[in-house]
Amino acid sequence: MYEAQRALASPVRNPRMATVIGRLLGAAFLICFGTGLYSHFLQEPLDGMRFATRPEFLYQVTQGTHIIAGIACFPLLLAKLYIVFPELFSFPPVRGLVHLVERASIALFVGASMVQITIGLLNTYQWYPWPFPFRQVHFALGWILIGLLIIHIGVKLPVIARYWNTAPTEADNDHLVDAVSADRAENAEAVRLWGETRPGGMTGRVLNFIDNTPRTASRLSRRGFLTTVGVATTAVVGLTAGQTFTPLNTVNLFGPRKKGVGPQGVPVNRTSEQAKVAESAMAAGWTLTVAVSGTERAFTRAELLALPQTAVTLPIACVEGWSQMAHWRGVRLRDLADLMNADPSTSFRLISLEERGSFSKTQMGREYVRDPLTLVALELNGETLDLEHGYPARMIAPGRPGVLQTKWLRRIEAIES
């Protein structure tokens, strides 16, 4: 263990560096947690929860940030783990119950973090090669990780406080390795534990080989490390964020979505085939039923088109982090509700032609129902709504996740309290 730590010692592996990278990673975790919670509650609001409908690109920003921060966690987490890696070889491995609990919590923290960002990344392209449900596990792991993060900060607080502002000192510029090797013979405890000389045979030869490798100067080593982490983070974020952040669209090399790619220039999340609605949506007898306080009225598409039409420009923004600005035209939901004499304080339930699927029936709070930008959309980017975008009619509202912008509408009903 001594030899392992010695071999792994590096000017980069010091508590100051752990604090510097740890702050960034901690911030990224908190951002992911906050934006994730916001997205969660939008989809599953607690009783009485109300949300902001402005700015209308709010969800595009929060969820885009969620994914961007999550992707930034890859280089940051790897860098953090690189810095503290020699800790793995602590000796003795367990020094008592508290130490055991601490090490176990770190192991869980490390493993769960890697799983969390990996399943999050793969979810952005709807690839699920794991034996558990994504949504529930991602949500539960979010709480677990934020708890472990706060415990970790509490445990390491003295170190964090000490190294929050400290620039590396002259002493830090020396090699940790040299310090250990110089000490070895004079260090009674080390000699007692591992003997006066290093292990012989193959192990010894490997260790000597490592020792004889030239070392990079400390300052250079640290600067190189920080530069590498910075460039890597910029690269992974910069080359994927174009899927939501328009200025980076041209360098969107690895984003799972591309702006403007899809029917009518808008990407699709759930197809009519997946939702099994192709037939019912194209049926000639389709109507949209609006139900308020026991009164029901069925609107054909022609009837909806005969009502006053409103044009809005709103992004469709998905939980998977992509977004696409688009021009929509259709009937204000507020107008429909007024037509049916609905009370302004009623929330609505939106029901899709889709018969299965977790978002085939969703609720829309009154703040969205009354918003002048909320439409039952009939047209997209100047054309009749494509089947893949929800023909004959779909919802589009400001600041809501794509899964709640119900496609292939069948029925809209007031939720009477």
Binding site: W130, V137, A140, D172, D183, L193, A235
Partner: protein, 213 residues
């Protein structure tokens, strides 16, 4: 939890990166560390890692201790809520899968990824015996940046083979893009290395006059 000035380092707060993970080094610091002139940096690093200097520690230990207790207590509550969520919302038969993935992630990092990075560092420094450290750092950085971007990009290439749910998911030619990225990265790395190499050979002479203004 022990949070007193001495206990912080040992039990709870010790980052103990590198050398200080060795009990002997820490135990001996007072005696050998000060005595041996060659071990200046042991002192510098060792004290930093284990516990703050006695004065600072004493004045802040009470406040520090209560803050830490609140943090750890709050963290445990959040953690417990997360575990409850997990058991509450995920079918019991699926939980071993979650545990397996978490364990596999640890093994993947600690037993596979880290040794590769370590070996790569050794190999590079050996191969670059005759060039300056800056060049090695640049090449190392280039390889790591490329690897991390590949880590993000390669799954898209793989996933694309599994027929994404619709043509607007993964619409790009990710293999080609990754190839282009590596080419650009290689060109930049080589360019920077050459610049650093030349600069090391022919250091820019600064005349005393030039620095006067």
């Amino acid at each position: 939890m022990r949070a007193d000035a001495n206990g912080t380092g040992d039990e709870a707060a010790g980052v103990r990166v590198g050398v200080t993970g060795v009990p002997g080094v820490r135990g001996d610091r007072g005696a050998a560390g000060h005595a041996a002139p060659g071990s200046r940096s042991t002192e510098g690093v060792g004290t930093g890692l284990n516990s703050p200097p006695a004065g600072i520690a004493a004045s802040t230990s009470r406040r520090m201790r209560s803050i830490r207790l609140v943090l750890v207590g709050g963290g445990v509550l959040l953690l417990a809520w997360g575990v409850f969520e997990m058991f509450d919302s995920v079918r019991l038969s699926r939980l071993p899968g979650v545990a397996l993935w978490i364990a596999a992630a640890i093994v993947l990092h600690d037993a596979i990824l880290s040794p590769i990075v370590f070996a790569l560092g050794i190999a590079l420094r050996r191969a670059g015996r005759r060039v300056s450290g800056t060049v090695i750092a640049i090449v190392q950085g280039g390889i790591l940046v490329g690897s991390i971007v590949s880590l993000i990009a390669v799954p898209t290439i793989v996933a694309k083979n599994f027929a994404p749910p619709n043509p607007t998911v993964l619409p790009l030619n990710y293999g080609l893009n990754l190839g282009i990225f590596w080419l650009v990265l290689a060109a930049l790395t080589v360019g920077l290395s050459v610049w650093a190499f030349v600069r090391a050979r022919h250091p820019v002479t600064v005349f005393p006059d030039d620095s006067g203004h």
